[in-house]
Structure formats: structure tokens, C-alpha cells
Symmetry: C3
Subunit: 352 residues, 3 copies
Amino acid sequence: MKFWRNCDKAIGNKFAMRTLANIAQALNLVFRGDGDVVIESVGTLSGATANQISFLSNSKYSHQLHETNAAAVILNHKDAETYPGNVLITDDSYVTFAKVAQILSSKENTSPVIHQQSAIDAQAHLENGVSVGAFSVIAAHCKIAKDCQIANNVTIGEGVVLGKACVIKSGVVIEPGCQLGDRCVVHPGAVIGADGFGLARDKGGWVKIPQTGVVVLGDDCEIGANTTVDCGAIDNTVLGNDVRLDNQIQIGHNVQIGDHTVIAGCTAVAGSTKIGKNCLIGGGVGIVGHISICDEVVIQAMSLVTHSIKNKGNYSAASPLQSTKDWRKNAVRFRQLDQLARKVNQMEKKLK
Amino acid sequence: MKFWRNCDKAIGNKFAMRTLANIAQALNLVFRGDGDVVIESVGTLSGATANQISFLSNSKYSHQLHETNAAAVILNHKDAETYPGNVLITDDSYVTFAKVAQILSSKENTSPVIHQQSAIDAQAHLENGVSVGAFSVIAAHCKIAKDCQIANNVTIGEGVVLGKACVIKSGVVIEPGCQLGDRCVVHPGAVIGADGFGLARDKGGWVKIPQTGVVVLGDDCEIGANTTVDCGAIDNTVLGNDVRLDNQIQIGHNVQIGDHTVIAGCTAVAGSTKIGKNCLIGGGVGIVGHISICDEVVIQAMSLVTHSIKNKGNYSAASPLQSTKDWRKNAVRFRQLDQLARKVNQMEKKLK
Amino acid sequence: MKFWRNCDKAIGNKFAMRTLANIAQALNLVFRGDGDVVIESVGTLSGATANQISFLSNSKYSHQLHETNAAAVILNHKDAETYPGNVLITDDSYVTFAKVAQILSSKENTSPVIHQQSAIDAQAHLENGVSVGAFSVIAAHCKIAKDCQIANNVTIGEGVVLGKACVIKSGVVIEPGCQLGDRCVVHPGAVIGADGFGLARDKGGWVKIPQTGVVVLGDDCEIGANTTVDCGAIDNTVLGNDVRLDNQIQIGHNVQIGDHTVIAGCTAVAGSTKIGKNCLIGGGVGIVGHISICDEVVIQAMSLVTHSIKNKGNYSAASPLQSTKDWRKNAVRFRQLDQLARKVNQMEKKLK
């Protein structure tokens, strides 16, 4: 359940009203102007209405600041100096915006509900404050810590452990034995702990290698919609703390990902690869198996990583977009590039 | 539910029989030959049986025309001239084939059924003719217009609006507040309205930015199996009318897509990008965030689009397939391409 | 349900204990050492405990052999010669490891259970030994052969046929009319038989072409988590025997894949393409529609295949990873590659 702008008034009213002064106090920040102005939600500078708070973090939008209808604006100190309206003053307007939005999107405490059309095994252990939606399954020997929210049509397999206040959205499958830390969010349709892809060639056919490890997630991880994180083959697949995966990502068996690493949508990481801390991996990237990527590596969209990366830095590989007419000519030459280079080298010798 | 060829006779019999004359009348077209011939389904020229209708739209298959066993064939005027068999005559045989197939695959009107093992909130509003399958959830404040078909194990969140005659296949998740136009089709496992990927860096960690917008789809949109369309961060993610998305696609938050644009499987569009009308985007394409692509752009498979496209046309980027042995040599040279070009320029000066 | 290492002792005890001698006998292999040593599960050489069996198949890990704590080790004849511990001797240690792991991960026979919160149509036919989990749907006219295991929140549409001992994991959708052979495994969230992507252009808009074929899988196929295999447009989409698909793969309508072909994660195969037997297709590969790839082709990760491949061999296309700084310079030159090649050719003439 989340807050949204375009819902019926009847629904919007369920959320608590907040004032600028209350928000400033909650975040230990200074405000200027009318502290009693009521703020219901966040908006962009150009789109905000008189009961919304906005923010400026990209100077590209500075010109919109003095025309906004927002009830108040979140600004860095320098921008705040000259702004005449209601303002929440901060060192980092984008981070403060994120925190204000979290406050405004949090619902009033509602009582946790176990839907009567769910299937919770008698040998599963649920702590206080756990909600379970309709048609969700919690198998035997699960340990679901307090304040977890499990939505609808979710399957949680035998022996799964969820830390405190995890949010498991609708349609998620968590296979047996997987372990999630506190405050993890798993978005709709994600699959955690499916079998890794392990096959041995035998007499022209394939023998499946049973995948006997699990997936272990640290605290504050986020797993995107329809993303898949495979279980380990023997040992486990392990994500550290605060690892953030976007949608449609594939993480192979026995992959390890360090704390605070972020991966954008549709990227695939093959088995047994180790990714360091604080990496930023773009969308549509492919990373082959059994390699190691050090901390603080940035990889641009749609790159293929075929070797270990031992130095932090920014890496790219995708070939550049062209008109198809030009591309056809250049692509033919790419196929002959080695020949071309040899020819140039011979000509160079001749010239000397 | 759809028609299929290989089912039991008992199932096939449930569908209405049609004759060539009836079909011609329904589409306001002319036929020639035996109008009473019964047509049960569509088939290829080479595979059709005596109760199927076939078509010729690609001249590559012309030679199959005079050997087909089809009950009748859909032909353009010119091809019809010389064909001696039963024929349905049209200006566009492929479009007519599509329409005939739609007629033949439509089931007799069956009474809509709300499965007793579903969970429909007392505050959800369903119009007449809505079907809901087993283990599907419709939350409070939803508005489901007439003749919608919702299959099994579907979750529809709070306040969702579905237009007339939408088809929501099994395993779909539609998150709270999303709005679909009339006649949209959402294929199995698709997720509409999951959180966009929004994070702010704070003291070495990440703060999640609540995603408070929704997804708004126009009329006649199609969302492929296991495709994900994220909700907007503040404003909405908006698809126009007749937008067709294949399977396994990822659409980021606040993306806008114009009418009649078609996107093939496994393509990813990052946040806040705007795609025009009547574009054809190939499979496995990556489009970075915050750019704009004008109307009538064609992008070939597996291209990465890193900048706005301001002129309609046909674009490509993928590097060409080679034997791995050749590729190894050429790829090394690609890494030295700038050096090579500089060397050639120097040699050119020397030669002059 | 699978075995896993890190579960509660209480759960682990449910699995049968095995001895080295029993395992050797089951696989018709020779062992040396203490045949009565009890083996509960598999482990890596470095991580195995005293109740686990390990293996050596990659000589890179030879040094770990003499330090392992494993109860026994699976070794090829040559490695076994000098190993002083308990050993299971074989021609192919990796294949034997796979088979031993299968034995150890097989549960004791448990009685099949039809969960009472499932929805099985009165006209569906289930043979003996079939299990169905909670909130799973089996529609009319399905034929589910003996010993199939269907997990939770699964939808199996009208007229589906499953061969013996298929395993359908949680959250899977199999659309009407699809046919699976014996012992197929479909991993969580996979969708089999969704509509192919067929559209005809009509007066600026799109007319959907009903997809009236089904998906037919041979025996021993594996379909990965969140993978999608579309139904055929008119004829069927057909996978042979022992075809193994990893996660997040998209197979278009009317694709044909030959026996024993293996495809890694996130690869997309467009409609009507034919792939031969014993191919190895890497991850993130794109294969365009209406082409043909012969037997025994290997395609490296993230290649785009735009033409038919008529000779077996190893193919690549992805452009190589570089620092983004270097990449920027080289990518510019790639766009001018045809010009550069022409210039070199002119200079060559001049030099002659």
C-alpha cells in the first residue's frame, strides 16, 4: 500500500495532515515562513498545488522556483537566501526531499491484518504486527519478524527467515530456506531462491545439478519487480546491506554483492561472480561468471564485462547509435578492422 | 481463454461454426466460390485443413497457394484473379487475416463468472459482465468497468480503474491507483505500477524516494507477459492509446510513450524518457533516462540510445556477429581505434 | 521443495541418511575407504564438513584436496590414485557429483497432497501421486500425469497436458492447451503459452492477430524463473527434449529449439526462428526472427544474431569493455570507420 496523488479524496483523507513546522521538527531542520501551512504530499516545482511541498536539487529547474504554487519548497542554504516563500532549509535538498516524501507517504498506524483467505502453516512463526494478504502462503518453519507486510498471492517457502519490517509485495515467490535481513523490500513478481542454472554434460544429454544453497540478503535491500536472485549451488548467494536491485535483473547462483551497490534494470550477473561495495551498475549490463569486480566501479548501460575489474573507475562498452544506413557501412568495416590495422602498419613502415 | 488447435474435440466444439459467406458479410468483403463452406479456424497455406481458412500476404509463399487444402484463402485482388478456389477478396490480406482470426477465436457469449474463491473488497465497484477468476484480489475503491475479464491469481490494488472490456491474464499485479483505458490486455505475470527506482545518496548509504505517482494507460494498450511498467515518482508514467509492449520489457518511472508505438521484447526504457508516436522499437534495446525520442523513429534490436533523437528515421548500434576467432582480433583493434585514426591522419599529412 | 544446508536441524533430519557404500552401489561405482561413513549432503572441498561429500573436477582446486574435511571425495581415477581418504571413483567427477547431489537432495517419499485451498476443475484429470499446493488452479480438461508436483499460486489453463513427474514451481502460469513432456521443471514466475506478439497495421493503428497455437515441450525440459515462452500464432512453438532455459528468457511465437540446446539468462529469441540441437547460447543474446541456426552453434554473451548461421562454431559480437574515457574516443571513431577505411585505401593506392 502506498500513497498516491490521483486517488479519491476519500482515500487521501486517510493519511495524516502535516505542517511545515512539524516536518522541520521531525527532520531536525530549520524552516522559514508560515510553519502552520498544511502539507499533504510532494510535487514538482511546476506541478505542485497549494497543499504540496516541492524541492530544487537540479539548477536546470531554478527558473521554476519563483513561479511554483507549492505550499513550501525544500532548498539548499544558498538557494534559500533569496527565496521569499515558505522554505525548508537543508544541506542536501534531494536527500531531504526523499525523507519528507517518506514521512508524507507513511500511513497512519493501521492494525496488522492476517487475511482469512491465506494459508499459514501451523509450524510457521509470525511475530507481532505482521500482515498477510489474501491467497498468500507461509510454509512450515518460517520465521517472520515483527511488522513485516506480506501482500497478496505471495508464496514463502519452508524455513524462510524475514527480518523486521520487511515488505513483500504481491506475486512474490521466496523459495525454501532463504534469509532476508531487516527492512528489505521485495517488489511484485520477484523470485528469490529459484534454482541456479547448473548442468553437467553426460553422454550427449544434461544432468541437473541440485542447487542446495539459499539466498541471504542483508538489511535494507531492495529487489525490483520481476527480478530473479538464484539460490547457491552448494554455498549461498549473498547480498550485503543496502544493496538495491531494479526490475527484471537476473542474479546467478553464488553471486556475492557488496554493501550499497546499486544495479539498474535488466542487468544479468552470471554465477559465482563477486561484485564489490558501492558499485553503480547500469541497465542492461551483462557480467560473466566467475569474475571479480572491485569496490566503487561504475559500469555504463549495456556493457558486457568479460574480465575481472581490479581498479575502481568508470567503464563502458556499448557501440554507438547511428543511422542504420551509416551503421551498415561501419559494421562491415568493423568485421575487417584487424586487416585495416595491419594494412596501416605496413604502410607506416613503407613511409618510414 | 483462447481458441487453440490441438485441444480435445470436445473443447473445440464449444466454438461457433462460421461459413465463408458469414465471415465475408461480417467484414463487408466480397467472396468467390462456395459461401457455405464451414470454417472453424485459421491455418497456414501449407498446414491448413479442409475446415480452415488461410491467407497469402508474403509473395515468398505464393507457390503454396495452389497446393493448399484450406477451405478458403484470404487474397489481395491481384492474387485472387487467378486463384480457382474459394477466396475472400480484400485490399490488405494480412489485416483481413487478423480480423478473421479475431472472429474465429471469439467464444460464444458465456455468462460472466465471479469465482467463489476470489477476494473482492466490499468497497470495490464492478460493473455488469465482469469475470473474476480463482484466487484473484480486487481491493477497495477499484472501479472495474463492464465486460472486464480478470483471470486467476491476479492482484488489483486499492483504487485501480479498469476501462471497459479489459483482459487481465493470470498472475498479473496492478498496484494501487493505476488507471487503464478501454480494451487493454495485460498478459500473464506483468506488473503495472511497481515502485520506480529512486534513491538519494546520504552518508554513504541510500535513502529510498517514495514513488507517489501511478501508471496511466490509454485505450487498446497491450502489456506483455512479465513486462514491468513502474509508477511515476511524483507525476505519472503515461502510455497513450494503442501502445503495444511485448514481453519482459521494463518501463521506468515517469516515462511517456505516444500513441501506436510498438516495443519488442526485453527492451528497457529508463526513467523520465519520452518516446513519440508511431515508433517501432526493436527487442533488447536500451534507452537511457531523461531523453526524448520524436515520432516515427525505428530503432533496431539491441541498440543503446544515449541521446535524444530529433529526426524520424531508422537507427542501429549493435556490433556485428563474427566468428569468435575473428572477433577477438577485431575487438582488440576496436580498443585502439582512436590511435589508429590518429596514425592514419599523420600518415595522410606526410603523404601530402 | 528442495534440500538446503542452512535450515533448522529439525528440517534436515527429514532427509534420509546415506552412506558412502550405499551411494556407490546406487551409481554402480567403486569406492575406497570407510563405506559406512554417513553422508548427508554435498559441500565444496574448502567448505565441506565431516558429514558431506565433495568433489574435484577443476584442477585449479587440487591444492584443496588434501586439506578438506569432507567425509568422502568424488574423484576421477587419476586423482584417486594418490588420495588417502575416503573416495568415490568415477570417469567423470562432475557428472557423478551431479548424480550424488540428486540422490542426497531427494526427499523420502512423502504422500502427495492436494491442498484444500486449491481450485481443481471437476473436468480436470489428475493421475495418482499428483500434489497441488495452495491457491493453485487447474482448469477443465487438463491431464496431469502421475507424480507431478504443482506448487502454490500456480495457474494451469484449460486443456493443458503435463507428462509424468513434472515439477511446476510457485507462481507459474501455463496458458490453455500447452503440452509438456515427462519430467519437465518450470521454475517460479515462468509463463508458458502467453500470446505471441502479432500485430497488423491498419489505418494508422494496430489490429491484434489472435495467437491460436500452443507451446509444446519435449521431455526433460527446464524453464527458468520468470522466463516466457509464447504460444504459436497458428502453428505451435516447439521445444525438443532436454532443452534447458535459464531465467528471464523470452522465446517468441513459433520458435523451434532442438534437443539438448541450452540458453543462458536474459536471452531473447524472436518469432519463427529455428535453433538446432546441442547449441549453447550465452546470456543476454538477441536472435532476430525468421532465421535458422544450425546444430552445435555456440554464441557468446550479448551477441546479436541478425542472419542465419549455417556452420557450427563459436560466434561473438559484443563490443569490448574499456574505461569510459577511452571508450568515448573510440566510439566516435567507430562512427567514422567507413570513412577511415576509404581514406586508407586511397593512401594505399597513392603509395603504390
